[in-house]
Symmetry: C2
Subunit: 355 residues, 2 copies
DNA sequence: GATAGTCTCGGTAACGTTAACGAGATGTCG
DNA sequence: CGACATCTCGTTAACGTTACCGAGACTATC
């Protein structure tokens, strides 16, 4: 025989009967509201614990008529990378799911190359009356200021993609960026032998703002230095979003450095792939980069890129909304979240990767 | 401003009013039951489509009082590997979640080293009256026979962990095993140079039964042979579950072969790790294995094992039940599932891996 | 033309929880 | 002692869907 599962779910009604009170009182105890004497509260709580009562979340979701509203404040996708589209995809999935409960979710997109658009959008958010806001914090000081303002108005905040430690009221959903850099270094150590030349490549306009890049690079260099294999590590910025401009810079650097491996610190790895696709006379180094974008996957599939490290941006977006939903409606979350998994994609497993 | 999401969910009541019928009739149309004239059915359907009516699954789940029952037929966890515990963990999570709806789920565990226990358990399953059964098909011909019997009795079946093509009525949830082997080979090619000696190691009692192993090995050797780097590939079985026995065999083989890399084709990679931990005078090869078991992770963390390939057994178990739940209650599933993602774990990202 | 059967359809109680409302008991202050 | 506030608790209508029950209209049969 197999194990038998006891599926006798006790309901609020059962508890009420056992405690000789009304279901309203049980509800008051469950949601620890007032209007219950200490004595009956203790009695009901005892019975709840004794029978391991678990609320029916579906009934609760059905019953509660809320008018919660959340805001989402993330960069708009640029012509150069579809990264934020992925995040948005997860957000939209969340909207689809949670609109059933009457939750309103508004999306505010800013230009990650123009801090003024962030300030404008954050003011727009404040002008309305949201219960919570999901933020991708690109601009550090401006985000801190914005969250301060939110706290004053009792608007909860949660970060995705990257974190500013201790800033948001509800925490951070995303990968540990330092470990992300270490992982890239770990894979690097498998790809190239000792004394190799390794090029760290930061490609994007307005690079100075991207504090999260430094964390990745730190993890990367710390790991390689500790390995002590005589790697020669160079860190180069190409502050542009234009392929032709980037190609010129790249050509110059690659010519003089002649790297064995290039580590692209963000999702622009496809640009580097395209470069070596065009300049076939140049010796192609190993390439490691970030994010499951179609343009990146293309170069992964052709063997141009060795590893893609992924942080599930869509899942991050979805989880942020899911967390808010649970925070406000289900009240079941106390635990702070662990960092997101860091996925490794190669030519052999990318086909099965989704969300 | 941001995008505004229209959260006006139309309900069955709205539809009824618009169609000048009762909600009962709308319900009949929605669940295409009889007792509706063609004319009113068409009218209601038009209005449903026009207003893009989406049923409130929570209300439905709350309302429906079903007495569905599912069986789960998987190997019991052996002393040698906690693999099936992980699968069971996912199953139990599903039980927890779906018992809310009055679904009864019974677990039947068989001994994967003894086909008779499988036959016994499958008879037990048939003697009761389940609506569906989740099967981990280890014993091929016996499983086929069992599923035939299920079909006669209109019991749905779904496979996890490995597949027998076209056998189960509802499909297969798990990784593509051939690709799994290819991925191991891909990682192998990064770990060792040309002309290396590679040892494929199959460890488990009753190996002859494990058809899924061959698929993995096929993927592995196909990939390496196509690479054409002069790898010397050896395939060795150690049909035992006892560490001391395995160690003796291993010592003999490793001594004569002196491999540069060992590919352990199942979750017993910790045994190999322990071996090289004890025989420190032997040159440690690179090691690749399977599954996120605590004992395996230990050797991943110590650097003894280079890569662990994971197929999320707990998620497989959960998804199987989740699929059944959706199949019977929500009726929303038509799509056949894609293979599960194949995860790569190294010393640098395993900390963030869960379910 | 009475009877029984079939085909449509509407009314409504339930599912488990929430929250508005009000009743009764007790306390407080003049 | 009366007026009023506060504390405690029960009653009950929702939430959106399902499914049982039965009413009315129509058809077939004798």
């Amino acid at each position: 025989m197999g194990e038998k599962t006891d599926n006798k779910k006790v309901g609020i009604k059962e508890i009420a009967k056992l405690a000789n009170v009304s279901i309203a009182t049980v509800d008051r105890v469950l949601n620890n509201r007032k209007d219950v004497s200490d004595k009956t509260r203790a009695k009901v709580q005892a019975i709840i614990k004794e029978h391991n009562y678990q609320p029916n979340l579906y009934a609760r979701a059905l019953s509660v008529k809320n008018n919660l509203s959340f805001a989402v404040l993330i960069p708009k996708t640029s012509s150069q990378t579809g990264y934020w589209d992925l995040c948005l995809k997860g957000i939209k999935q969340g909207i689809e799911e949670f609109s059933t409960f009457g939750i309103t979710i508004d999306i505010f997109l800013y230009d990650q190359e123009d801090v003024r658009t962030f300030i404008k959008m954050s003011e727009d958010v404040l002008s309305r009356n949201f219960n919570a806001v999901v933020i991708a914090p690109i601009f550090i000081s401006e985000t801190i200021r914005f969250v301060e303002e939110c706290k004053k108005r009792r608007i909860e905040s949660i970060f995705v993609n990257s974190d500013i430690k201790g800033c948001s009221s509800l925490g951070y959903i995303g990968p540990d960026l330092y470990s992300t850099g270490r992982l890239a270094a770990n894979l690097t150590s498998y790809l190239v032998p000792a004394n190799s030349k390794v090029l760290i490549l930061n490609i994007a306009r307005g690079l100075q703002n991207y504090a999260y890049l430094n964390t990745k690079i730190e993890g990367y260099t710390d790991y390689l230095n500790k390995l002590d294999r005589g790697f020669e590590i160079l860190n180069i910025d190409i502050p542009s979003n234009n392929y032709d401009e980037i190609a010129i810079d790249l050509l110059r650097h690659v010519d003089t450095i002649n790297p064995d491996l290039i580590f692209v610190t963000n999702s622009r790895v496809s640009v580097v792939g395209r470069f070596f696709d065009e300049y076939r006379n140049i010796k192609k180094p190993h390439i490691i980069g970030f994010d499951f974008l179609t343009e990146n996957v293309e170069f992964l599939g052709s063997g141009m890129v060795d590893f893609l490290i992924c942080q599930r941006p869509d899942k991050q977006g979805y989880l942020a909304l899911n967390y808010l939903y649970r925070h406000f409606l289900l009240k079941d979350v106390k635990e702070n979240f662990k960092p997101m998994p860091i996925d490794i994609l190669t030519i052999e497993n990318y086909l099965f990767y989704e969300n």
